[in-house]
Symmetry: C2
Subunit: 411 residues, 2 copies
């Protein structure tokens, strides 16, 4: 008998009919002898409907009351799912975040979980019940309702799985697993059976939106095996787990992530002085603009240049700030480029293998694609290229690392 936490998102519970389909999946797993906790989101569209009501009053509403409002979305789903389970003869019991006692800080709208009281959940499980928990919500120490921010139901599921020391946390989504790259771009993209937490994090941070980054971090931290599956199709999905669990040799490259949401900014000819990077990037960060890739060079005349990327929506503000900084520092010029894309190859196999970067650069060179920036981490190599070459680059890399052919890239 395994203890499994399942999570179904808004699309999976978008109608009563779909809730009944979810109930069937849950019931099947329960009848196989598993203990089950199910975390659910609001029915798709419901959160937006509630926010719409608030916006009729004001666009700048009180965050505490906003949480009181939107948390009703998941509360509706837990009740309906329990009813659907009971109709199938399954004894089910619902819990709001407050009833579980998912204790969070008081940062309304983006609260962080501090502690989960597993007492009531354990009691219900031991009584043979299927437990249905409202995702996305918690309660602070004063009893105020909090929400974890959009997509927070994944985090709820993982946190509950960690608190209960569940055997697996299954995240049901509208895709049937994690792919080597976006199948809409590369037709022979392949579903991965397994991937490590680190790889998943690198994939997710590069625009693979299947799972919330926080939930993957959380799962990694507490070693909760995470499985991504489809709500609508049968299939094993992708298991995200610790590398150590994996008996097989790891492939060099597990997947290719990409992102076209960023723009590039460069400041050139900064007279050399200590702390230049801090002076440039500190001011940008203070304006709450998130900085991604950063590269710094020193020219022959000892003047420095710094290039970094920001989200396209922050570009004009960042440009303005950078202009002021250039003045202060006596830098020569500032320029920016929106027509860029980031492409990353990700794989824990890189750790023990040289030559992966060279292979990547060669592949891009063969296609005539110029690399503007390069950054590397232990398990990821990222390049910034011209946006119009993005699809060509992804397809070339997918092919050169043989990602469509399972197993062949093992060493």
């Amino acid at each position: 008998m395994s203890l499994i936490v399942q999570k179904y998102g808004g699309t999976s519970v978008g109608t009563v009919e779909r809730i009944e389909a979810v109930a069937k999946k849950v019931a099947a797993s329960h009848r196989e002898g598993n203990q089950l906790v199910v975390a659910v989101s609001a029915m798709s569209g419901e959160t937006n409907r509630l926010i719409g009501l608030a916006n009729e009053i004001s666009s700048d509403t009180n965050l505490r009351e906003m949480d009181v409002l939107v948390s009703t979305g998941e509360q509706v789903t837990i009740a309906l799912l329990c009813m659907a389970l009971q109709k199938l003869g399954i004894d089910a019991l619902s819990f709001t975040g407050s009833q579980v006692r998912i204790l969070t800080d008081n940062a309304h709208g983006k609260a962080r979980i501090k502690e989960i009281d597993s007492h009531r959940l354990q009691g219900a499980l031991q009584a043979g019940k299927v437990v249905v928990v409202a995702g996305f919500q918690g309660v602070d120490e004063e009893g105020n309702i909090t929400t974890l921010g959009r997509g927070g139901s994944d985090t709820t599921a993982v946190a509950v799985a960690a608190a209960l020391q569940a055997d697996e946390c299954q995240i049901y989504t509208d895709v049937d697993g994690v792919y080597t790259t976006d199948p809409r771009l590369v037709s022979d993209a392949r579903r991965l059976d397994k991937i490590t937490f680190e790889e998943m994090l690198e994939m997710a941070s590069q625009g693979s939106k299947i799972l919330q980054i926080r939930s993957v971090e959380f799962a990694g931290k507490y070693s909760v095996p995470l499985r991504v599956l489809s709500s609508f199709e049968e299939g094993p999905g992708t298991l995200i787990s610790l590398e150590e669990d994996d008996q097989m040799e790891k492939p060099l490259v597990s997947g290719i992530a990409f992102n076209r949401d960023e723009a590039k900014l460069t400041i050139r000819g900064i007279p050399d002085q200590p702390g230049v990077a801090y002076k440039v990037l500190g001011a940008i960060s203070e304006a709450n603009i998130e900085i991604d890739v950063i590269v710094q060079n020193v020219a022959k005349d000892n003047s420095a240049s710094i290039t970094f990327t920001v989200n396209k929506t922050d570009l004009s503000q960042a440009e303005e700030l950078l202009g002021e900084i250039a003045n202060d520092l006596g830098a020569l010029e500032v320029d920016s480029d929106k027509r860029i894309a980031k492409v990353s190859i990700v794989g824990v196999g890189m750790r023990s293998h040289a030559g992966v970067a060279a292979k990547m650069f060669e592949a891009l060179s063969n296609e005539g694609i110029n690399i503007q920036l390069i950054t590397t981490s232990e398990i990821k190599i990222t390049v910034v290229i011209e946006e119009r070459y993005l699809e060509l680059a992804v397809r070339a890399l997918h092919s050169v690392f043989e990602l469509s052919e399972p197993g062949t890239e093992m060493t």
Copy 2:
């Protein structure tokens, strides 16, 4: 400075626009220097929408989960009303039934309030906040969400007023007060400035649907002055309070209530034996059929006959049961009549005055209306008549007791 509890029903908060209108009323009273607690219902239509979702799954849903579901309706309203108040510069704070801690028994769907923890509410009031409480809902000792049954928001308001020892509990509705009788039937029906709890109870039990009976009982028990006002018009409404508070002499008759929802059943020629009434009515009650007026006679031959009324929806079931009972008891016959109506005159003045009943019967006789049954209580006289004479009877009684002319009926 007064402490006032206000209650706004579903129609009063039916749209965001109306919620903003309620916020203006609340803000005005707050700016006059009153401390305010506001209890609200779900936006009109919302509870039915939620029940509709449940009914898509099953018509026989789990009551605990039904409470989890429908309690979201008021939770949405409290958040939106707080936002609307905050937009007007009023510091407002919302509480669900569980957050107040409105402790109830665990009779889901029809829970009764056991205790209200006034601690958090007092704290918020003392901090100068307007407190907004979700009506209709509470929490049992195990932390399960409960609801008080439909219309229970009135009860919430009264119970909170009692717990806080409020100066007045104001129930805002779609009518501007309690009338001497239904103004749709009698055009010169008059709004009453004052009425006693007892009179209001008798009026309510006879089909005057302005207030929930339970909330009036509750208000009477804890001596909470209750005022019925219109959400949509200005005006003093009707104050419902203890008779003792009233300096004026009471009128003989305060109002006329009526009801056409009942049917009459008669069982005749029951051989005389002890416990006949119990044998007949006990079986009906056991089938959960509510019995209203009961009259028993003994004929010259010592055989008994019993007549009683039930709701029309229960008639066919009651007829069937009564047929079996008649067989068992060896009674002569059973008959029933749907085309009846009940009319009552209500007034605490009756206690100290004879002749009221005679005046009533004379008025009906003058109109050629035959009285089929009569029952009386200390402050109410009820007759059952043919349904087609109902309007005639109500108008005649309204006139003979001079209800359209305030003050004239004082002794």
